[in-house]
């Protein structure tokens, strides 16, 4: 139904529908479509192909520039903290990154700060083996902040140059768990003498409107520096990151595209926008 067809109100509705079906919020979809309607009035988008391109550009520009590499410390140990709700892919993302870092000749160390969930430590230890990275852990039920503290100390004494802290999944509605996260972040910062280079919120691409609430809540417990959007290899478009970008300004840094060690790619706003309309 797209081939030089003139942009009309019906087409605008179809495009708005496509945005909403991609989990873009009503608000953000309305904002993008209004912008498109204005462009149409100025004669800038004569055909539907122009309209789709303009909309893609609108989506990409909402997401900001694609060049946001993960940050490393200028000197001393780099620390990256991984947070998010249950089951989104934190541990797997830590494992993938550790693998990449080792391949790049760096010396990652993993902190098993999920001291609650069944076999969480074993899961991370397996990734540590795959990534050739030591894992610092304690017994189940230990204080995660203490494990974070010990991991940074261990990295220093063992000559490792980057620490990846895996934390337990937690629903942002549980204040005791969000307080625990604040404590992990505080203890990490105190031990380092500065904030971690990255505090990354992991979001599942199939998440609906709750993704924005997650981002806002987690930002309240630890200053977020980036997002990792996982499971983008499914059919979910991950449109919720548009609202997250608009409301929080936290940039998406990485995209998970599978369950294997190599399945983590840099975020590319243009490609993301194209995928949304494919």
């Amino acid at each position: 139904s797209m081939s030089g067809r003139k942009l009309d109100e019906e087409m605008l509705e179809e495009l708005e529908e496509q945005l909403v079906m991609s989990d873009v919020s009503i608000d953000t979809a309305g904002h993008l479509i209004s912008g498109l309607r204005e462009a149409a009035r100025r004669g800038e988008v004569p055909t539907d192909e122009d309209a789709i391109q303009a909309l893609q550009d609108g989506v990409a520009s909402l997401l900001g520039s694609g060049d946001r590499p993960l940050r490393f410390a200028a000197d001393g140990i780099t620390v990256w903290l991984f947070v998010g709700v249950n089951g989104v892919g934190k541990t797997t993302s830590v494992g993938k990154l550790a693998h990449k870092l080792s391949q790049q000749g760096r010396k990652p160390l993993l902190a098993a700060c999920d001291t609650f969930r069944a076999a969480a430590i074993e899961q991370l230890q397996e990734w540590g083996r795959r990534a050739d990275a030591p894992v610092v852990a304690a017994q189940s039920g230990a204080d995660p902040a203490a494990v974070a503290h010990d991991a940074i100390a261990a990295a220093r004494s063992r000559g490792r140059d980057i620490v990846l802290i895996d934390t337990a999944g937690r629903l942002h509605t549980k204040s005791n768990l969000m307080n625990e996260l604040s404590k992990i972040a505080r203890v990490t910062e105190r031990e380092l003498g500065r904030a971690p280079e990255e505090t990354l919120l992991v979001l599942d691409a199939s998440t609906g409107q709750n993704g924005l609430t997650q981002a806002q809540s987690f930002a309240g417990s630890a200053p977020l520096t980036g997002l990792i959007l996982t499971k983008w290899d499914g059919t979910a478009k991950g449109g919720i990151i548009l609202s997250v970008a608009r409301e929080t300004g936290v940039p998406v840094k990485l995209i998970g595209v599978g369950e294997k060690a190599d399945d983590l790619i840099a975020f590319n706003p243009q490609k993301f926008a194209e995928e949304m309309f494919s």
Partner: protein, 291 residues
């Protein structure tokens, strides 16, 4: 919330005299917005709002003293009816062990739910056996063994042998050890992964489960229908377990899944602990979706 918004909509309209069909459209726009914000699928919202409109005009809501409350009541009732109204119990076997299989996308709570179900069934006098067929995820078997031990239910595993083979051996073991329920945990998989979907089908064909439950994360958005439909086409689902309902996601995905597949919700997961499994209440879910 929706009630307040409709109240405002109709109050504003009533000030201009008689309430008309166009005014009904304004009210239905609010209903549509509420459902979309709750992650109900776009197409399902269209059908649903059309049904509500028909019903509201049919009962002459516009003539009523409080059209806002009447519309909310109609929406609530329609949602409750859509969500409920069908077999929400486990279908037990009439002969031999009852086989229950958990399936779904990655990270939706299958392994945790398997242990919760085992504990639930044990409390109701059953002697369940857990079967570990996730041969891929690091630590998956250990995870099931750990939660199995926590609820005092044995776990059958066969390392990384093919899942259909493990399932078959687990069923045989259950028969030989007087287990009357077999709960099969499977690996998370994408509905677009043909090989993995075939594997799920092969597990189903190997042991003919009496229940195939889709674990659906309550925070899932518009994609829920794609995944659920695909799973339902490959392994005929008998029920849904809606997980992580202890969060604040509105959970509208379940309405779409129910509308498109007809599969009923049999349980809800309401926490990380192994006793956090409850029966599903359609009317409460309706209220939650409406916000």
């Amino acid at each position: 919330n929706l009630s307040e918004k409709l109240n405002k909509t109709f109050a504003r309209l009533r000030g201009r005299g008689r309430v008309t069909e166009a005014d009904m459209d304004a009210a239905l726009r609010e209903v549509r917005l509420a459902l979309l914000e709750a992650d109900v699928n776009f197409k399902i919202v269209k059908d649903f709002v059309a049904r509500v409109r028909e019903k509201a005009l049919g009962v002459d809501v516009l003539e009523s003293l409080s059209p806002d409350q009447q519309v909310v009541a109609i929406v609530h009732d329609e949602l409750t009816e859509l969500l409920g109204g069908s077999a929400q119990r486990i279908n037990y076997s009439s002969q031999g062990p009852t086989v229950i299989m958990l399936a779904g996308l990655q990270g939706t709570g299958k392994t945790t739910t398997c242990a919760k179900l085992a504990a639930w069934l044990k409390r109701s006098g059953k002697k369940p056996l857990l079967v570990a067929t996730d041969i891929y995820r690091p630590g998956a078997i250990k995870q099931l063994q750990t939660v199995g031990a926590q609820v005092g239910v044995p776990v059958f595993e066969m390392g990384t042998n093919p899942p259909p083979q493990i399932a078959r051996a687990g069923l045989k073991y259950a028969g030989e050890h007087a287990h009357d329920v077999v709960i099969i945990d499977t690996a998370g998989r994408l509905h677009v992964d043909e090989a993995m979907m075939q594997e799920a089908r092969d597990v189903q064909d190997a042991v003919n489960p009496h229940e195939v439950l889709l674990a659906l994360d309550a925070m899932t958005g518009q994609d829920a229908v794609n995944a659920a439909s695909a799973f339902n086409e490959t392994v005929r689902l008998s029920g849904v377990v809606l997980t992580k309902l202890d969060g604040d996601a509105r959970g509208g995905a379940i309405l779409s899944v129910r509308a498109v597949t007809g599969v009923p919700v049999k349980f809800v997961g309401v926490g990380e602990k192994l006793d956090a499994l409850e029966e599903f209440h359609p009317d409460r879910m309706a209220g939650r979706i409406l916000g």
